[in-house]
Amino acid sequence: MHIKAQDLGYTYMKNTPFEKKALDGVNLEIKEGSRVAIVGHTGSGKSTLVQHMNGLLIPSEGSLTAGEMEIRPGTKQKTLSKLRQRVGMVFQFPEHQLFDETVEKDVAFGPMNFGLTREEACGRGRDALRKVGLHDESLYKKSPFELSGGQMRRVAIAGVLASEPEMLILDEPTAGLDPEGRVKMMELFSGWQKESEARSYVLVTHHMEDAATYADYIFVMHQGTVVLEGSPEVVFSHEERLQQWGLGVPKTTKLLIELSKKANTPINVASFSVEDTAKEIVRLLKGDKRDV
């Protein structure tokens, strides 16, 4: 789905002493079928921004266009159901949204809200559960609260995938997971996205490594605006500016930058996988001064 924000602004608790401007003049465009990351320090407005993309928040200023739907100040919540089906959202700690008696029913909640019959919804729910790696059918009749933490998170994500959205908004979906769990989770979303041309996701993350690996385009936010955007190569070449905004670069990039300084030779620092980084170091050691 194509997303475009124009001079988007949002103020929490408008007209109270607690008024807080969280977004100010945001302009951005996300193409259909793309993998996008949004990075920024805590409180920079990432969550506020992405919650506009499925109409959970209505702009205070400017507009946001999602597909054919244009949302402006004053747009009514009721008109947004269609959009919410097309744009799924995985929050931080998604397992907190589980509520139904059985795993199966909980997963079917979304599709049923979007107008499917119970049978259809359950069918889609089962597909989604298998997709997130829960193949054991005896689980489906259990209460979601009997499952382990990791399984609960998978069920919650299946609950979002079951509505068959075209676009996923992932707001720090790997919070609280160990490194291995994080990779598994990200591979899951990455695999989901590759299944169809039109599918896209927006990943909000604190991990620059994830942003580099799982996104083709990165937006950097600072104090409610987009301050830098581009491919990972472009964004992570601005190490000093990123530092000013309280952000780092991927560890591999950091290593190469330091090596490059020590050896006093320019090297290609935009290598984000361990293999590429190793190759780059080997080249440096061999004294290969191929253009970079």
């Binding site: 109270t16 009721k78 589980l98 509505s163």
Partner: protein, 265 residues
Amino acid sequence: MFDNLIIGQYVPRESVIHRMDPRAKLVCLFLFMIVLFIGNRIIALLPGILFVAVAFWLAQIPLRFFAKGLRLIVIIITITFILHLFMTREGNVLVDIGWLTIYEGALTQASLIAVRLFLLVILASMLTLTTTPIDLTDGLETLFGPLKKIGVPAHELALTMSIALRFIPTLLGETEKIVKAQLARGASFSEGSLVKRAKALIPLLVPLLIQSFKRAEDLATAMEARGYDGSSERTKYRELTWKRSDTFMLMVTILTGVMILILRG
């Protein structure tokens, strides 16, 4: 989502009212409450109105914000007013148009109750708007302190209250998050019949309850792990200090009370 909720909120300002000792505020509110219900004529309530107006002006709470937060209460008070107006049958008939008769006594009764409630609500919400929750519970604890002798668990009550107050913002934040998560899954909380709306609350209430229980358990474990024991004599890091200005405020409240007493019929 809860933009207009002012219950339990604290608005930080540097006003005279903010700096008052919480014990003084509590005692003043309590006295005022009693005196209000002694005042049995509108004219007797005039000093009370003046008192609340001045206190409000001193507290520097933004009027528009305050008014918005009181909207629901104003509606409730209006309903009470109307009910009293039609139900009471005392004194001369004021209006008589067929099915509708309004008596003079009804009008005075209804206005009296409405004014009393209104003043009370304003003053009570000002207490929480100008006092941090921790000051409030400290104040309550010391005021109830003497009752420990007759077996009232003053400390435990104060602790329970401060925990409850502490978790109001957490709970609101969590509610907002779960509402959003279910809205994103196509739930709707504001459409359909009353039954349908009540049912729509299940996906919200179940997660909230489960998380509250979990949090309560965690909190209990954390307190036990640190050897918390409410029964032993606990000393305080922050102590309340009664200032001369607090005595002055108390005097003003008593004076207002005396005036109401003199003016009552």
